[in-house]
Amino acid sequence: MPLLWLVLIVLALGVVGYGLGRHKAMTSADGDVRHLHSLPVYYGTNVSLFVVVPALLVMVAWLIVQPIVINNSVAADIPASAIPESSTLGLVMSDVRRVADGLDLAVTQGALTSAEASGLQAGVSDVRAILADVGVALGSDVSATTLSAAQEYRAMASTANLAMTALVLGLAIAGFVYAYGRTNKDFRARNVVEKAIRAILIVAASIAILTTVGIVLSLVFNTIEFFKLYPAADFFFGTTWSPSFGGGSELGVLPLLWGTLYISVIALAVAVPIGLFAAIYLSEYAGPKARGIAKPLIEVLAGIPTIVYGLFALLTVGPLLVNVFGSGGALGVDWMSGASSVTTAGLVMGIMLIPFVSSLSDDIINAVPQSMRDGSLGLGATKSETVKQVVLPAALPGIVGAVLLAASRAIGETMIVVLGAGAAARLSMNPLEAMTTVTAKIVSQLTGDADFASPEALVAFALGMTLFVMTLGLNVLALVIVRKYREQYE
């Protein structure tokens, strides 16, 4: 039975279970909802949950395990002599699977009957041609071993499929019987369903945690590897960043951290005031119409690909700044030599981040109850005083969240940095000089031409880890600030 059908049947059973569960509950309450512990929906949902969830969970588990098991048992039957020199068992097996899949396809397309498919013999019929006809390309002609293994594979798969179908359907029915049996008017269906929902919520929350674990795991081993090759002290306190694939690189993180900080600060200095003022204006001053138009428009800024911002920085903003601060520029000073600089990238990144601050803050400000504003206005405060002293403090946690999001984005951005800020890793106070950031270097070291076991490549992971720990500190700080200054309304 095709998988789709099995899933549909289980789901259909779930729907039927819903109806029956609901009905039984109602009957047990003599048709009066009021005698039920929970709403009828909960009884129905309870039964469907018991029908669908275990069955589908088992099905998914089976589907993950089955190919592994079949693969292993078929692979065990392939004699070592049948594996061509230079090839591996794994490759032979992928050929086997391809042939097996091809035969399945041929059967479903009607090119072969299933008897023919299991009776094919290498050498006798041209399997490659038959499969090519149904659109399955093979790299070479099919050997006898491959073909028989493929047939064995098919046979096992079909038995296993049958077993799975039986098991899944059995579980669905068992679930139904169990849940249906428990259904009566005093059964606490809502609590059960809510527990299930709660479990779903917890699973969802743990995905975020698992991601963190995954990221840490994918960084930490290579980071350790890196520190075996390169002294940690030089990495953390070195002031020169000059990787070279030939070896003998200097990999001091300080210039990169400095660049990251500098650019992010400039970007936030642009985005936070503009974004916050825009949010305040939109939610407190602008009419619903103006707000309805301006807010989505500003949000488009977040969707323009960063490469556009990068080019905008390099080709428009950079030269503009050079015209002002460069030699022969409007100010008659010579502070800036190239179009790429911290300021160029920071300004443009700031523009990109405006909607991160403005849109989210706008929603949060809008959620502050009107009675707060009334209280302040009634005391003779102006709108701006009300906003500054009552509304913003009440909206603080959300606004900090929005700013953090913008800061995070600033730290993680690459394209604008690469094009706008230049690639020079240096420690300088001059905001008109080119610098670069940790993220930009992670990308270039990771995709770089350096040997993969060399410190030049592994440093990317150490950089990632450093950034991770640093931003973690930043977030802890933000949490503490919010806790301290949070003003909960009502």
């Binding site: 209280g375 102006t382 909960q488």
Partner: protein
């Protein structure tokens, strides 16, 4: 029938503080206030009474233009404060509201400390020269709001952690702290026990020396006790307006009479 010490009190007839002419208020299509004309005298306590939903709060909010904050609300007609139309284009509602303070029907303390709740008004109006001055203003306001004793040890606890009646008194204290010329109070004692109520009533009486007070109340006894003038609203109309004594003892309109007696009779 009423325990009203003020009935015979000499109500000095003074100049009009606020006068409203042909005031109409609409919420969208709902006509909430219908053609109200009233003259609220200075240095007097005026009570607005009437059944729930008759438009008392709505009209009160017109007097300091708090209705401006409700999008769908539209006000027509003239309202003059000291002879100046407060709906005039040149009038700055901020300045107006500094003069005409308000205590809202639902207590709405700011999510700040008790101290900051009170200090907020004086700060924005620059009423305090220094910290000590501000402390004094805060203490005085809290005392006037009859809540000083309860909160003096927790001035820096959040105002939202107070009980319902405490919040109400906090809001009264907050409004008084800015020393407005007119104080609009929308059911200021609704959540207060009798003792607190009488303290607030004393405050109102005290305020009358210098300011005008308009108080919305559903307690006829309270209206009789504290006010010199009473206005009776019904279904958006100002049915009757006159000296409190006269309204309660000798109402001209049958609706007023039935409302007043409705409870008692």
């Amino acid at each position: 029938m009423y325990d009203n010490p003020n009935l015979e009190r000499n109500v000095a007839q003074q100049d009009t503080k606020i006068s409203a002419r042909n005031v109409q208020v609409f919420y969208g299509d709902t006509h909430a206030i219908k053609d109200v004309n009233i003259e609220i005298p200075a240095r007097t306590v005026t009570a607005f009474i009437g059944p729930s939903g008759c438009g008392k709060s709505t009209f009160l909010r017109c007097l300091n233009r708090m209705n401006d904050t409700i999008d769908i609300c539209r006000v027509e007609g003239d309202i003059n404060l000291d002879g100046e139309n407060i709906y005039d284009k040149r009038v700055d509602p901020v300045q107006l509201r500094a003069k005409v303070g308000m205590v809202f029907q639902k207590p709405n303390p700011f999510p700040k400390s008790i101290y900051d709740n009170i200090a907020y008004g004086p700060r924005i109006h620059g009423l305090a020269k220094n910290k000590a001055d501000l402390d004094e203003i805060v203490e005085k306001a809290l005392r006037r709001g009859a809540i000083w004793n309860e909160v003096k040890d927790r001035l820096h606890a959040p105002g939202t952690g107070l009980s319902g009646g405490q919040q109400q008194r906090l809001c009264i204290a907050r409004a008084v702290a800015t020393e407005p010329e007119v104080l609009l109070m929308d059911e200021p004692c609704s959540a207060l026990d009798p003792i607190a109520t009488s303290q607030v009533e004393e405050l109102i009486d005290e305020l009358r020396d210098q300011y005008s007070v308009v108080i919305v109340t559903h307690s006829m006894q309270q209206a009789a006790r504290v006010s010199q003038k009473t206005a009776f609203f019904h279904l958006g109309n100002l049915v009757e307006f006159g000296d409190t004594g006269q309204i309660f003892t000798n109402p001209q309109d049958s609706r007023t009479e039935s409302y007043i007696t409705g409870r008692i009779g």
